[in-house]
């Protein structure tokens, strides 16, 4: 089976007007599903992935041959129980796992888009994905769930389509990027564009890959996903396969070796231009500004039941930013629950085996489903 056969794709004929002004049509949206849709079609959950995720939420990712990115949370009898729910996840537009993105060919020029690809936003991403509901004949989802950038999509989805979901679970996210968030993303983008193999984004046609730059971008970002405590406990000042410092610039410390490894495996599965586009979409996301400075107005028309989850050691999207969403919802009397989960694992907590989180997510969903 070649790659194309392993990726399910829905071609969206309906023209989509992007925030940048361009309109796209006849574009592919790659998706995967788990579990089965019941007769009433009321057990569907749309999961949104984060920056470097894809549609392969759980089980084996057929492209990377590794486990899905949310295997801890999604699967039979897990928090998002695929015996019970029909889970849909799409690769975001701008991504590189089959959905319309900068590594696609521009039909007009017959060349790979590269940086000629239109700048996309979180709003564009959810407007593309809502087409999946029509495709499956789903009038109303049971839930929309996502962490990090996935959480941003949850917020935007409910705002855009207030009646299309019964519940919404934004996890470890924010209603807009802080200066620090933008700064880290800019660091990653600069690392990519500073790689001479990036070639103004035209690296594919030149048969090269800006892998050094992309790896550095990943390394920097990876640090922001972890907490100081977890790094210290895992690595401390431990040396990498050596008894003493070598007085050079090899990876003396285990943390250096670990980051280099994280960078090197990332470049095998991710496209550098996609990284630029998706980080840009996150930076541009500002649901507060979109509603003239009042986040509550984003949710005025929804009856959805929200459950917001944050993590104590997440310094990328700290609890206060998650709480701001709760506050905005409470201000309009929306149905919202909130819990901050104790975890040392940093922003990545939502992807990892954090029992309190997995339990509370399962309980919220299962209880809401029977209501």
């Amino acid at each position: 089976m070649n790659i194309k056969q392993k990726i399910k794709t829905l071609v969206i004929d309906k023209p989509l007007k992007l925030d940048c002004g361009q309109t796209i049509s006849e574009f592919p949206l790659a998706y995967e599903t788990y579990g089965s849709l019941n007769e009433n079609k009321d057990n569907a959950i749309l999961v949104f992935h984060a920056l470097t995720g894809d549609q392969f939420v759980t089980g084996l990712n057929p492209i990377t041959n590794k486990g899905g990115w949310w295997s801890f949370a999604v699967g039979p009898n897990k928090s998002i129980d695929t015996n019970k729910y029909f889970v849909i996840c799409a690769n975001v537009i701008g991504g590189c796992m089959g959905s319309f993105g900068p590594n696609h060919e521009n039909p007009e020029t017959k060349k790979i888009y590269g940086t000629d690809f239109p700048v996309i936003t979180i709003n564009d991403m959810v407007n593309a994905q809502v087409n999946l509901l029509d495709h499956f004949g789903i009038k109303k989802l049971f839930s929309v769930i996502g962490g990090s950038m996935g959480g941003m999509q949850v917020l935007q989805f409910v705002s855009n389509f207030p009646n299309k979901t019964k519940t919404a679970v934004p996890i470890a996210c924010t209603s807009n990027h802080s200066a620090q968030n933008i700064a880290f993303n800019e660091l990653g983008r600069q690392a990519i564009t500073a790689d001479h193999n990036w070639m103004d984004g035209k690296y594919t046609s030149k048969n090269t890959v800006p892998d050094k730059g992309l790896a550095v971008a990943r390394m920097a970002a990876h640090i922001t996903y972890l907490s100081k405590k977890s790094l210290q406990e895992k690595f401390g000042r431990k040396l990498q396969e050596r008894d003493d410092l070598k007085f050079g610039f090899d990876a003396d410390f285990q943390i250096e070796s670990y980051l280099r490894y994280q960078g090197s495996v990332f470049v095998d599965r991710f496209d550098a231009n996609s990284y630029l586009y998706i980080t840009r979409a996150m930076d541009y996301f500002d649901l507060v500004k979109q509603f003239n400075g009042n986040l509550s107005n984003a949710f005025n028309n929804t009856k959805a039941k929200f459950f917001v989850i944050s993590f104590t050691s997440d310094w990328l999207y700290p609890t206060q930013e998650n709480k701001d969403i709760v506050i905005a919802l409470n201000a309009i009397g929306a149905d919202v629950g909130f819990v901050e989960i104790e975890s040392d694992k940093g922003h990545d907590s939502f992807l990892l085996d954090v029992p309190d989180f997995l339990k509370v997510l399962k309980n919220f969903l299962d209880q809401s489903y029977t209501e």
Partner: protein
């Protein structure tokens, strides 16, 4: 304290919006939901308790009543309940004012420090009283500002709120408190239950 829950439920009218401040494991919320058609949610400081509430399918936010009531607009609830926790706050005055800002009415229950057993305990033993409603020792009690039913009535005049209903719980029996019986109720009630308004 089933009787306490029953009294609170009797006070609350149907089809109202209710907030339970310091809802603990959600027992009162569950009880209210079962017995009255109300839109009720809770705020609770303990992560563990919040998770228990979620497991029961209740809408609860983790938060500190002293800091997090701010987020609710004026009069966003018909009733705000504060069950036996007023004495645990650093500033009960601010909490009462916040309750009455967020809710049109508030239901406040207080363990009565004026109960005869408490008084006798201190008088005879000379140590800080430990009773059924006040089970902790002085060094590990969360209570900072113990008060009596009489104190609370006085408090209403000092910080200017109206008491619409004051009930005393004595051995699971409910009775009204009024000016003429205040001395006795303050001596015999384990718990005071007050419906208050700005």
């Amino acid at each position: 304290m089933k009787t306490e829950y029953k009294i609170i439920t009797d006070i609350i009218e149907e089809n109202t919006r209710v907030l339970d401040v310091g809802c603990d494991d959600g027992t009162l919320i569950e009880f209210l939901k079962k017995n009255k058609n109300v839109d009720i949610r809770g705020i609770e400081i303990s992560k563990e308790k919040v998770q228990i509430c979620v497991a029961k399918g209740l809408t609860v936010i983790e938060g500190n009543a002293e800091l997090d009531l701010k987020q609710f607009p004026n009069n966003s609830f018909d009733y705000v309940i504060l069950g036996q926790t007023l004495q645990a706050f650093i500033n009960p005055e601010i909490v009462i004012k916040e309750l009455l800002r967020v809710g049109k009415k508030a239901i406040v229950t207080i363990p009565n420090f004026g109960h005869w057993k408490v008084r006798l305990n201190l008088l005879t033993k000379g140590t800080m009283p430990v009773t059924k409603t006040l089970p902790n020792n002085w060094y590990n009690t969360p209570n900072l500002h113990m008060c009596t039913i009489k104190d609370f009535v006085k408090f209403s005049k000092i910080i200017d709120f109206k008491i619409f209903k004051s009930l005393a719980l004595i051995n699971r029996n409910v009775s009204n408190i009024n000016n003429s019986n205040l001395f006795f109720k303050n001596l015999f009630a384990e718990l005071g239950i007050f419906l208050i308004e700005k």
